[in-house]
């Protein structure tokens, strides 16, 4: 084992590139993402590789800076989902009985509901900002995480080493902390990557619908939205940031599914 699959390597390479773009955005971006100019709807040229938007801002620089917001929202939403869903899943899986029954009922209702619509309504209530978007998307994905962890806890708690720990008189809390949590983290990591993908995907969709990070922040979804009316004139206004969303989601999805595959091939 411990040999990375080609898919995993591709995913990690892309992640490295995207992270570098986010961190070194001021060095990479040719111009300021918010500086307007008289050159509105400029065609792609040597100075503006993807052209300029309706306010004369450089699209490429905005796409590069947009990486920051996207990764920020994606990562914090995924962490929030684990922080909320993790304890719920642990409680349901470890104590079982009526607590489990009630929790699973609630979790299943929320899993069945459309995540995007739920996020739409919550963002409309909270107002949109990077923090609110992260919380919203974290809350929306938390039930899936809880369900997954619950399933894994069901498997782990029947293992002999847990029984041994119980036989030596270990407390529930100690068993959960020392045995259950470390053994469920394996599935959590791959789900974490998939959740980042989902959060970036959904936050971009929300911005596209007009409920994303408020302007003038360079946000991919809003850029796509602003560009749609000029699709025939300057297609790159929309398609450029759209491709950035697709590539980022692809990267995290690839990493998540390869981790998943590696974990399940390890089981057999």
């Amino acid at each position: 084992m411990r040999q990375l699959s080609p898919r995993m390597i591709l995913g990690l390479c892309l992640l490295l590139v995207i992270t570098c773009v986010a961190i070194f955005a001021p060095l990479i971006a040719p111009l300021s993402p918010t500086a307007t100019s008289v050159n509105v709807f400029g065609a792609p040229s040597g100075q503006n590789l993807l052209g300029t938007d309706q306010l004369g801002r450089d699209v490429l620089s905005r796409v590069i800076y947009g990486t920051r917001i996207s990764l920020q929202v994606g990562a914090s939403a995924a962490v929030i989902a684990v922080l909320i869903g993790g304890p719920l899943g642990l409680i349901a899986g470890f104590f079982r009985g009526w607590i489990d029954y009630v929790l699973v009922q609630v979790i299943d209702i929320f899993i069945a509901l459309p995540g995007l619509v739920l996020a739409l309504i919550i963002t409309a209530m909270l107002g949109s900002s990077v923090l609110n978007l992260s919380i919203t998307l974290g809350v929306v994905t938390a039930p899936t995480v809880a369900r997954l962890i619950r399933g894994q806890v069901f498997v782990v708690r029947e293992m002999l080493f847990v029984e041994a720990a119980r036989a030596t008189g270990a407390s529930s809390f100690w068993i959960v902390r020392k045995h259950i949590v470390p053994n469920t983290m394996r599935v959590v990591w791959s789900q974490l990557a998939i959740n980042v993908a989902f959060a970036i995907f959904t936050s971009a969709s929300l911005s596209f619908l007009g409920l994303g990070v408020p302007p003038p922040s360079p946000d991919w979804g809003s850029m796509v939205r602003d560009g749609t009316s000029f699709l025939s004139l300057r297609p790159l206004l929309s398609l450029g940031p759209g491709a950035a969303v697709a590539l980022t989601v692809f990267t995290f999805y690839l990493i998540g599914t390869s981790m998943n595959a590696a974990a399940s091939s390890n089981d057999h």
């Binding site: 796509v224 699709l231 759209g242 697709a246 989601v249």
Partner: protein
């Protein structure tokens, strides 16, 4: 069978009540006073209070929920705050379009994924093709895919109209030309996830002894694939279709916005940006009930197709 349906409906009713109550409480308490929204920013506090009292907005939450719910059950969702139109009428106009879009996506995604992935000729080519398509379909956001399709087929090739919608009454052909791109956009996700689920199941079923028996009695590869492996591999798809309905609704909202189609998604997005409570609540309720009923239908279909579940239920 009947027991199964009854027990499922019995669980559904409290769930619907709970969810619509949460929706009602959230929408009405967070978005500010509806009277203030209706009267605009220049209204004095006295006139707002007066309208609140007249419309019953000052009543306790439970009373207001009860009134809303009992009216909703008789089909009266009130009037839109922005257009003064009957909300029930607005929903009745928008719902068929969204249902049609969703139905196309499920049917095409289901048939496409099962049929193409069962083909035995040029198997290698089709397998690679669906593998690539499925990753694209899952990771490319709906809005980007939709715009890309508009750009390629409407702006560059000029084969299809860019956005908009034509009802069936404008002629079947005209209706379908407007539907092609939105349906493709929405089907991409379903086709992709169905492909992933179906391929995994197909590979597992293939190893069974009865498949070897079918092959050794001289059946052709394609007959084995379509008559023996396919029927035994579609069960997980039905479960999956039920579970992913939520994503379908979300996808429909975005797709309708991209293509400016007057469906439920556009109604919801418009209502949210205009703070139009009655419309938000009604669309929310339709989505909640719709997803639950469709889930129930998926469960019933599952038990009809799978005799094991049918006898034990």
């Amino acid at each position: 069978m009947l027991v199964l349906i009854f027990s499922r409906v019995a669980i559904m009713v409290p769930n619907v009540i709970l969810l619509t109550f949460l929706l009602f409480a959230a929408v009405t308490s967070f978005l500010g006073s509806p009277a203030a929204i209706m009267l605009g920013e220049e209204a004095s506090p006295e006139t707002i209070a007066e309208l609140n009292a007249k419309m019953g907005f000052d009543q306790p939450l439970l009373t207001r929920y009860w009134d809303w719910m009992t009216n909703a059950l008789t089909g009266d969702f009130g009037r839109s705050y922005t257009t003064q139109q009957q909300v029930a009428e607005m929903i009745a106009n928008a719902l068929p379009l969204t249902l049609e879009l969703a139905l196309w996506a499920i049917v095409l995604g289901f048939c496409g994924a099962t049929l193409i992935n069962s083909l035995t000729f040029f198997r290698k080519f089709f397998q690679t093709f669906t593998a690539v398509i499925s990753i694209i379909g899952i990771t490319v956001p709906n809005f980007f895919l939709g715009l890309l399709l508009i750009y390629i087929f409407s702006i560059q090739l000029r084969w299809l109209p860019t956005t908009g919608w034509a009802p069936w009454s404008d002629g079947v052909l005209r209706h379908l030309t407007y539907m092609i791109l939105p349906v493709m956009t929405l089907t991409a996700f379903y086709f992709s996830s169905f492909t992933l689920v179906y391929k995994a199941e197909y590979a597992a079923v293939r190893n069974n002894l009865f498949i070897r028996a079918a092959r050794s009695k001289g059946l052709s590869e394609s007959r084995v694939s379509f008559r023996h492996i396919l029927p035994n591999s579609i069960l997980p798809l039905i479960t999956y279709a039920g579970l992913s309905l939520g994503q379908l609704v979300g996808g429909a909202v975005v797709t309708e916005t991209v293509f400016s189609m007057p469906g439920m998604g556009r109604l919801l997005v418009g209502a949210i940006s205009a703070r139009d409570f009655p419309v938000m609540l009604a669309v929310g309720m339709v989505i909640i009930v719709g997803v639950m009923v469709l889930n129930l239908i998926a469960d019933i279909t599952y038990s009809l197709v799978n005799p094991l579940v049918r006898t034990s239920a």
